[in-house]
Symmetry: C2
Subunit: 432 residues, 2 copies
């Protein structure tokens, strides 16, 4: 029986240093859980001369990946470099060298996940990636193990902390988008270039990872329908509130016999829905399973220590597998062929906000469009517009297909009475 497991750490940024801190601070707990010591033997960094605050001895640091790959005493690699620059290659090389990998890299897993998981299977190595989605929330594990016997039919998630922080501030403190973004940047929740967050790309990557796992199929980034925060118009957040909804940037994935559908977009969430209470930088994923019904997992979506906790949880699982000689024994081959639903098979309620000329017969003209498209209306409200000659009309529809929604929008935009379709949203949940 071996007495210790040696680990190689790739990257020593906020997550990497957090992992090192947890593994050093909790050495005793880890030893109790595993019966052996777990030691960080080597740490790959770009710049060896940089000053670092850490309890790790200086000689563990190296700028040469091969030094780690060629060290046969190292059984496990933790990849926390982030980004796409050389990370896929580092994970591949680690697996080819017969070392298990724990990664927090959503970018790599969203694009190359299936390929890397197959490589792990072929090399009889574990590849764990809990921290790639939802920071400290054990999402991957729950779907792999906890709901293993259930058939997941849909999941709706707030998986980007930056956009959720911005929308919370806009709703609760009436901030403008720009003010809220500035505060998010100041607090370190938003990056200097926030476009991956606010355009929904970051959330789309995470949804690819979650949907692939939930539905046991290989979802691709191109399968995700994405609309960014810029679709949210002035007044929409207040308007949603007046109807009992909260605007959230939400990912949604669903599966039925017609195939899968995955999207990331601003959505109207009913205030009574648990996701509406997920505030600030927090993340949550709401899972609907055939048997279990509704489950929600909530927690910090990012941050050094939460993410490092997920990484270390994976390290514990990987070490346990190593000690029991069962590493790489879980197959990752998807159970189902990838099949993406057409727009006429995706059903939801919709919210349409339309600026119209304030003249006789406008509502008749507009409602006729919905009738022609076979779409039925749950709510119709007309407000005075900003000028005397226009008005705003709000429609909330019953469930209809996305194709119907798009056809209605097209006809609305061409209608004489319509000045502009100001905004439109999918409405989460069943009829109230």
């Amino acid at each position: 029986m071996r007495k210790e497991i040696q680990v190689g750490l790739l990257g020593f940024g906020t997550v990497g240093s957090g992992v090192a801190k947890i593994m050093i601070d909790h050495q005793q707990d880890l030893q109790h859980k595993l019966g052996v010591e777990v030691n960080i033997k080597k740490v790959l960094v770009r710049n060896l001369t940089k000053k670092r605050e850490t309890d790790l001895p200086i000689e563990v640091f190296t700028d040469n990946l091969d030094e780690i790959l060629n060290d046969s005493s190292i059984d496990l690699i933790i990849e926390v470099m982030g980004g796409m620059n050389g990370t896929k290659e580092a994970i591949e090389a680690s697996l080819r060298a017969g070392k298990g990998v724990v990664t927090a890299n959503k970018d790599v897993m969203a694009v190359y996940g299936p390929e890397l998981l197959r490589l792990a299977d072929a090399n009889k190595c574990d590849l764990f990636y809990e921290a790639s989605v939802g920071g400290g929330i054990p999402l991957i594990r729950t779907m792999e193990d906890g709901l293993a016997s259930d058939r997941i039919s849909s999941l709706t998630g707030i998986v980007n902390g930056t956009t959720n922080f911005i929308l919370t501030k806009m709703k609760q403190e009436n901030m403008s988008y720009e003010e809220a973004l500035a505060q998010a940047t100041e607090l370190g929740f938003a990056e200097a270039d926030p476009s991956a967050d606010v355009d929904g790309i970051d959330a789309a990557r995470k949804m690819v990872i979650l949907a692939s796992l939930a539905f046991s199929t290989e979802v691709q980034l191109d399968d995700v329908f994405v609309r960014g925060m810029k679709e949210i118009q002035d007044g929409d957040v207040e308007l949603a509130e007046s109807f009992g909804y909260t605007v959230k940037m939400a990912g949604h994935a669903e599966k039925d016999e017609e195939g899968i559908a995955v999207s990331v977009e601003p959505v109207f969430i009913p205030n009574s829905h648990p996701l509406a209470s997920v505030h600030n930088e927090y993340n949550a994923v709401y899972i609907y399973g055939a048997a279990v019904g509704e489950t929600m997992l909530y927690g910090p979506g990012a941050g050094s220590l939460p993410t490092a906790t997920s990484v270390t949880g994976d390290v514990v699982a990987a070490c346990r597998n190593l000690l029991l000689g069962m590493n790489g024994k879980r197959s990752h081959s998807p159970q189902h062929e990838r099949k993406v639903k057409d727009d006429d098979k995706r059903f939801s309620r919709y919210f349409h906000r339309i600026l119209v000329k304030d003249e006789v017969g406008v509502l008749t003209q507009l409602t006729a469009i919905y009738s022609r498209q076979g779409a039925s209306l749950a709510t119709v409200i007309q407000h005075p517009g900003k000028s005397e000659r226009d008005a705003e009309v709000i429609f909330i529809t019953h469930r209809m297909s996305r194709q119907q929604h798009l056809d209605v929008l097209k006809e609305l935009e061409e209608a004489d009475a319509v000045i502009d379709v100001l905004s439109h949203y999918r409405v989460e949940g069943d009829e109230k």
Copy 2:
């Protein structure tokens, strides 16, 4: 390599029949996950002649436990009989016969959990009990695996669906306690004798299981401080709302260097806290870990299919262990000695509602009591009482020890100006 795993099912009530249904309906998914078939070979029932709607063949049913225990082809026992009548003995006999056990039995696990887990270790068998707490919510697994590397400092949970349903109806629909209980009974959420639920006993059992696991120590049922729903007085729910709180029957467990403290009682939860949005029969557990920060797991706390999903998740895990020859290899020995905190080491804010004589100098007399006990006040409010000669005084304190709280209550009850201490609550969360 074996081609199938044979399972014995003890009990065929709502959970047992749900487990059978899931295992039959999802046979193909299970086979994909495990690579082998999982079959229910025998089912123990009390009454063989009872008519049952099931796809299982009639010959699998037996009323003789030994027939299952002596069947060497059966490797795994699922105990879903419930209650204390013979269940501990059945689990023991199964483990002694070298069979792994999956149980949904909170009563047995709360009282005999440590003993049974040691017996499982000694017999190199798995004993899984995910479904014993929180129905379909993967709580046990999350704490064992997902947060394995974190140090959990506290957990607060709504772990009883009946009381949460009653309190939701009282708050949202202004029902009386009696009306809400009647509706819970009608809908099947409350049992004919609801005392284990409303008195907090059911929640206390679940908190014992959760706290033992979270803190790696053997918590006993007697360690749990319990106050039932009858402590909630008329008007308390509305009063809480007017201060921005929701009354919840909540379990709380905390640990620091002074030891552990576990309680179940009606608590004031700030409306901004995620637990305040947990409605109706739903359960949720809010976990605070040193590294991960706040995490919350939410879902159905009971019900045939949710509970059966957790059971089947355990079955998958146990089968995987059997196939890999790693059954019974995870030690359950607690890491820490049990040490329960004294009342002067348990800190919280408190809410006190006091009926006083409406006369000069009352507030001075009362506030002097708090000062004498070293307790400081955050909020003081005086309302007119029901008669002309009395008044109600509300105090919300800053953090103080439970001992201070009890000493203050005692002095209040003896004070000349005080007619009655109407109610008092622990207030969850930090200062607002």
